[in-house]
Each structure stands twice: as C-alpha cells, then as structure tokens.
Assembly symmetry: C2
Homo-oligomer: 231 residues x 2
DNA sequence: AGAGAAATATGTTATAAAGCACAAATATAA
DNA sequence: TTATATTTGTGCTTTATAACATATTTCTCT
C-alpha cells in the first residue's frame, strides 16, 4: 500500500513533482493523503478553512457556489491531473466555493503549510502557482461575459463545447465523456433546469446532437460553435 | 525630474518596494517608466501583448471586457496604490481585457521581464503575486454569482456599495468619491444604460440617495445593503 | 418486483429586463 | 456665443427567461 502510494504520487503529481528536489519530494510524499470520494460526495464546503492543496488523480470534480434560492453556479470543472482547493489559503480566506465529486474520484491532499513552506524556498514552484492562478483568473473573466451577456442558446452551446474540449469524447468520437444531470448542465450555463432541458431538446430537433439519458452525442459541432459565437 | 521620480517610486511602490533588497530596488527604479493618462484614455487594449506591471499612483482606472453588441462589462476598478496589467503575462496570453483611465491618472510601468527575473530569486515577491491573484480570483467568483443571479436593483445596489467602499466619500461623508457616467455604472452592474438610469431614479424616490449629475450621495446605506442582500 | 423518489419532458403563464422612441439637459467644439 | 454632439431621463413595447403545473420516465431502495 505504501509502495503503491509512492508510485501513484510520483506518477500523478507530475506537474509539480518535477519542480521539487529529492528532499522536497520526500517531504511531499510523506505528508500527502490519498482520499477517495463517492459519486456526489462533498469534498469541501463554503466557509470551511482551506487546509490542503488537492490534486485530482481520478474522476471528475465540480467547483461551485451556492447562489440565490438554491440555484448553484458551477464555476470550474476539474479533471486529472489538476490542482485545486488552494486559492482560499493563499488569499487567507475561508472557501467561497464548494467542491463535490461528479463520480467516484481519487484525490491527493497535500497540507498547505507544506506547500507554503516549499514555495518560500522553491521559485519554480511559486511560479507554477502564479501561472495557474493567472490562467484561472483569465478564464473567469472570459466566463463572466459569457454568462452575463449571451442568451440561453449561446450559453448552453458554450457549456457543451467546454465539456467536449475538457473531457473529450468516447470511442465513437462524438459522445461527450462526462454524464451530467440536466440540473448540473443548467448550473454550468446559468439557467433553470427546465430551460436546460428545453434548449437541449431544441438542439436535438435541429440535428445538432442526440440525447440518450445523460449521454450527449454531438452531431454538428460547427453549428454548435456558430450558436456559441453568434446567438 | 529624476530625483523626483525616485521619491515617487519609493513612496508609491511601497507594497513591493519593502520586499526588495537594495540592488533589486535599484533595478526596478532604473527600469520604471512613469506615464500619464488623460481622462478616458486607453491604457492597454484587448489582444495586445502584456509588457508591463502597472501600478496606479494617481487616478482611477477601469478594467473591462468588450461584450456583445458593444456592451462592455467592467471587471475590476483600480485605485492608488494597486497593481494590474500583469495577469496575462504570467498566463502567457495576450490581454483578454482593456484598461482605461476614468480620470487623469499617473501610472508606473515596470517591464514584466524584470519582474519575472526578480520573482525567480525573491520568494517574498512571488508570494505577493500569488496573494494578489488568489484574492482577485476569489472576488471574481463572488462577482460572477452577483452579476448572474441578482436582479437589477440588487446588482445596482451592489455596485454602489462597492464604489462606496472602494473610493470612499467626500468630506460630507456620503458623496461617493468617484463620478461615473450612467453607462459605466450600467457596465459595472450588467444592465443597459436606461435601466441604470431608471433604477437610480427609483432609489432616489425611495430616499436611498440623491443624484446631482454624476455625484451620488448615499443617504440610506442600510437600505442599500438590504436591497443588495435580499432583493 | 413494486413503491416511492428523483429526474426528465413539455406546455402555459408571469415578469424582469431589453429595446425603442423621443424629449430634455448638459457638455463640447467651432 | 451658437451649433452639435453626448448624456440623461421617461414612457411604451417587446422579448427572453423564470416560474409554475403536470405528465412521464428513470432511478433507488426495501
């Protein structure tokens, strides 16, 4: 088990692993916890104190914010091997978002005290986090305009393309490789569940995609991109 | 002039200045440009390559994104002494936003190559940027939900409180210390100009504030906060 | 397998906010 | 100054989207 853990960590933490010297690697290895989360299980909640840098080894995670009247807004989606859960610690805040697993997921938890300590000595690691945060902030700016200014069809199209690019397709080359409830699709696209359902079936009858439960098969990506861009 | 410049830089760059050793300070001092921008002048534009870390010494700056049909979305507002313009460089991207001066402004421009070089050696400086970015990202998440889920009155109330907290008041203790066009107020609050005007005059007749051109006098902050929170 | 719960689907109604038109006031420039 | 453009203010209309109601299908658990 511990031997197994080592292999996992080295293999999966690749992005930051290569930035660490052997003694730093040792420190991280010894303090990393591997946790498993069941489908729909909460990973962290709003107002909680951030304690870990999390790295998703397996599965899919949503980071969302509770909105008004129970309407959640999904802010970011994570896939292997991405890092999350550290922002609030750096900002010296409690979490302003929540995270939950879409499906059974394996997540490495590295104590933020360790990370902070390493950053103070290791500039390449510091630069890694600067880059991550800078990229996320840019995406967030882009997203804000999408969510506030586009109409429903454009917002849903945007989400579908995002999912397609983020999680890819199954062997058939067109079924999006993540199965979201209509409610999650709505929360991602800033609309009500019924409008997500309605708009999805419009796209169906327009030959843009087919729906089989939660499996979404994109038939006409060009058309989808056109809707995303123009309206 | 050069002696004058030195004093300005030391005084104004205080936040990062104290993190630098004498030789680093020298390097920054020698490479910093001080630029003046007129009212409404563009500071950088979308798709341009980021070259400078900017620090606003005097004035007020908006960072915004061109949206659909010419509807801009103001993402952030800057006041002395804040840093901006560096995110895209760290993310290795062109600018996704534009920046313009609300009023006559003085801005220090430090080449990003210098900053990057310093970060690689100076961990406290790296940590400063990590904190800045982490804070901005948290605010952005918060903002997204505000802009997408609140109704017009709540969004405008939110903007007014934000302006009040960010720029403070004049000597009278209630006139917001920034004068925005209705259009800017609209772009800040994700609404059309006519709705900003309309809602503002509603607030007027409800005794929440008085309007004198672009001077906004907040009479009932409690009520405004209530609208921001609930409806 | 069957009961209950949850998710999906679809039609109808209500409403918030945009769009448009135009007037008045203010700023800018010749 | 006068002339022109820009900004602000108001009323009316239209439209996008939420809210509601109600089936129907699909999951979940005993």
């Amino acid at each position: 088990m511990s031997g197994n853990k080592e292999i996992e960590i080295e293999e999966y933490l690749s992005q930051i692993w290569t930035l660490l010297d052997p003694s730093e690697q040792e420190l991280v290895k010894d303090s990393t916890l591997i946790k498993h989360f069941k489908k729909n299980e909460l990973i962290y909640r709003e107002n909680e104190d951030p304690k870990f840098l999390m790295c998703i080894f397996k599965g899919k995670v949503k980071i969302y914010k509770e909105g008004i009247g129970g309407r959640n807004q999904i802010m970011r989606l994570m896939s292997p091997v991405q890092y999350f859960g550290y922002r609030a610690y750096f900002a010296n805040e409690a979490y302003v978002t929540e995270a939950a697993a879409f499906e059974c997921s394996t997540i490495a938890m590295i104590p933020m005290e360790i990370i902070e300590e390493l950053i103070m000595k290791n500039n390449a690691l510091a630069m890694f986090f600067i880059r991550e945060l800078a990229t996320d902030l840019g995406e967030s700016d882009e997203r804000t305009v999408n969510l506030t200014q586009k109409h429903i069809r454009g917002r849903l199209a945007d989400s579908l393309i995002f999912l397609l690019e983020k999680y890819g397709t199954e062997a058939d080359g067109c079924t999006i490789n993540i199965y979201l409830a209509r409610e999650d699709l709505a929360n991602l696209s800033n609309m009500t569940t019924s409008n997500a359902i309605r708009t999805l079936s419009s796209f169906c009858s327009e030959g843009i995609l087919t729906v089989d439960g939660r499996r979404l098969k994109i038939l006409d990506e060009t058309k989808l991109r056109k809707i995303n861009k123009f309206g």
